[in-house]
């Protein structure tokens, strides 16, 4: 087979593939700064390799309130906003965070699949609602979950 022809075929397919793929280019992650577990998770995420640039914002901060104040879930649930303005909230936000990490993208698809989705949704909801109580589990002296956990 003619090599030049083959190469141009492959290149055409590559262009088509990249044109089709539309995914967020950056993600803003709005977390609860008064929760020790959340701060620890943010610290963990910052040390993971990610596919897209991530920015972390405390949801009570001025910047977050000025830009994203009209998102109704802000402060109650984890909120993830992409450069194109898509907003993922709660369990979907957790999965989008996993999706952004190189090591865990496969898990985000697994957890969103039909086998795990109901379980994952309940797990992330429970995690989110009990986030302060869970800090108490890691550090018994942390009664209200707002202390700083060992990093």
């Amino acid at each position: 087979m003619d090599t030049a022809l083959w190469l141009s075929n492959v290149e055409a397919r590559a262009d088509e593939k990249f044109a089709r793929a539309r995914y967020p280019r950056t993600l803003a992650i709005l977390f609860d700064p008064s929760c020790a577990l959340c701060r620890r998770c943010v610290h963990w995420m910052q040390h993971q390799a990610s596919y897209v640039p991530l920015s972390f914002m405390p949801c009570t901060g001025e910047q977050a309130r000025a830009r994203y104040g009209d998102i109704p879930w802000l402060g109650d649930e984890l909120v993830v906003v992409s450069d194109a303005g898509e907003v993922w909230v709660g369990p979907a936000g957790f999965l989008t965070c996993l999706w952004a990490l190189e090591e865990y993208r496969e898990w985000s698809f697994r957890l969103a699949g039909p086998a795990f989705a109901p379980l994952a949704e309940r797990f992330f909801l429970a995690l989110s609602h009990r986030r302060r109580a869970l800090a108490f589990l890691f550090e018994p002296k942390c009664k209200d979950g707002t202390c700083s956990l060992g990093r």
Binding site: Y23, P24, E86, F109, A112, A117
Partner: protein
């Protein structure tokens, strides 16, 4: 049973075994490289010259592993004294060779699958649909290409 007859049996076993193992390895390697190329073309769309290179390297590894294993297990020794024993030894050896070729072959297929999956996952959008669109200054694009389990 004379010494000559035993030697004759052994030589026959060795000849059949050696030709069968070499023939099978060559045939399998060719099949693997011909069909694996399709997978690899799909994986290395960004750098098309990688596909034949990786394919070639995989096939070389396959040859080394299989032929090495086949020659190491060639020795039949005193197991081929009579024609019946010779047949049995030959069958046992060929069976073991085929089984190990099968394992290596499926291992190779799994490898191709993993390589392809990793490449696909890099371009995949998040697994869950966004809950809302948040208009941000400077970017009016609304993203709408996802299939979600949640929401």
């Amino acid at each position: 049973m004379s010494f000559d007859a035993t030697a004759q049996n052994l030589v026959t076993v060795y000849c059949v075994y050696a030709s069968a193992s070499v023939g099978l390895t060559v045939w399998l390697a060719r099949t693997l490289s011909k069909n694996g190329e399709v997978f690899l073309d799909d994986v290395f769309v960004e750098n098309p010259r990688m596909a034949p290179a990786v394919n070639r390297l995989l096939v070389v590894g396959f040859y080394l592993l299989n032929l090495g294993y086949a020659f190491v297990t060639l020795k039949a020794g005193a197991d081929a004294l009579t024609p019946v024993q010779a047949m049995e030894t030959l069958a046992a050896k060929l069976g073991a060779l085929l089984l190990s070729l099968g394992v290596i072959h499926f291992g190779n297929l799994y490898l191709f699958h993993r390589i392809r999956r990793r490449a696909q996952i890099r371009l995949a959008p998040p697994p869950v649909r966004p809950q809302m669109h948040h208009p941000e200054p400077g970017s009016g694009q609304v993203y709408s290409g996802s299939q979600g389990a949640f929401g």
